[in-house]
Symmetry: C2
Subunit: 216 residues, 2 copies
């Protein structure tokens, strides 16, 4: 059993080292990268579409799309105006630093300012694999329910910002915002929170403003 | 690389053999087990609460709850009237046959008719691990979006029934039912489908009727 644990730690150590290399490579080229994580259907692709359209003209954006199968999300990102790189994980439930290293090889660093990484739809495993991004963002979704911070603590603990999407659905579902926020605060005190609707556009201005600030 | 693949296959083979043992053990005791899978927040616990309340008095039900952390779901199942067994996976993103074997040890086979297994909220990994259940059920959720069969094909391919939850939210979200159903049909032709709302109760009668039929 201890041998098995040792192997797992070695895999994680190797991933972390490679993530640090990815970050160094980005820093040297003056690129900024954001890793967006969420459950399936919380609105990763919708937020990326909105963001790409908003920031087009100010920043050159590349989107790296991780998916178990298909290029649906990458196609949506490309239609929104980004250059898109598709990673088909072939069953893997998360992106890792090796996949990002290979994706970075497909991106023209000279003509890119911002890389948005869309992780695989999963509230568990992506939390354990650093990619080398400068900011890790989690999207929660109102219809998912208010207990998710309590049930998926690793994901909530490690992020730099939390987008709460689909706030337009609040009148139609049970969602105790105080209970939700208490869970978030316990795991990640003071984390930046952006309540938004990617359908109506409500709340997105604060998200764009934050992005422009961190991008400099 | 080939050695690594061989090891993975051996793990899956061992899991499948243990799943077959779990099923044999259930069959010999005359128990029926259902494995419920879905993304986080699609409504696994809500469907189980409704089902336990509906079938109480007809069947003795035990609920096995798989979760990364906390006993929130097991407590909800217990309040609804089931005996509940909590499996904290400690970070694992799916249940496997070993965890179910250990959970079965906690259940009184003589006084139980039906075991409902609530898998970990995840649309990827649970598809790869047989547990020994008689029926595998997937819950889709309207606000997750209509592209999920295309993006998570393994999960849709392997199930015996598909519950489409939160149909009460259809007026408020974009969801092309024809596109969704085309994806489902391609992967799993003729699969039983139950459009329901666990909030309003709409559509649940057909689900209960099916359960009573398979339970005999």
């Amino acid at each position: 059993m201890s041998e098995r644990i040792a192997v797992v730690e070695e895999i994680m150590g190797a991933n972390d080292r490679l993530a640090a290399q990815n970050k160094k490579r980005l820093d040297e080229a003056g690129l900024f990268a954001i890793n967006i994580m969420a459950s399936p259907g919380a609105g990763k692709t919708s937020l990326i579409e909105r963001t790409v359209k908003e920031l087009a003209g100010e920043y050159e954006i590349a989107v790296v799309d991780g998916d178990v199968a298909t290029g649906i999300d990458a196609e949506r990102a490309a239609r929104a105006g980004a250059r898109a790189v598709q990673i088909n994980t072939g069953g893997e439930c998360h992106l890792d630093a090796v996949m990002i290293q290979e994706a970075l090889d497909q991106i023209d660093f000279k003509t890119t300012d911002l890389i948005i990484i869309e992780n695989v739809g999963n509230l568990i495993c992506p939390a354990g694999f650093k990619l080398g991004a400068h900011k890790n963002v989690l999207i929660a979704s109102i219809p998912e329910g208010d207990d998710k911070p309590y049930k998926y603590p690793s994901m909530y603990r490690g992020v730099d910002a939390l987008v709460i999407n689909k706030i337009d659905l609040r009148p139609y579902v049970k969602f105790d915002m105080d209970y939700f926020k208490h869970g978030v605060e316990t795991l990640n005190p003071g984390v930046l929170t952006f309540p938004v609707s990617c359908q109506t556009g409500e709340g997105l201005l604060a998200w764009y403003t934050w992005l422009r600030t961190v991008l400099g």
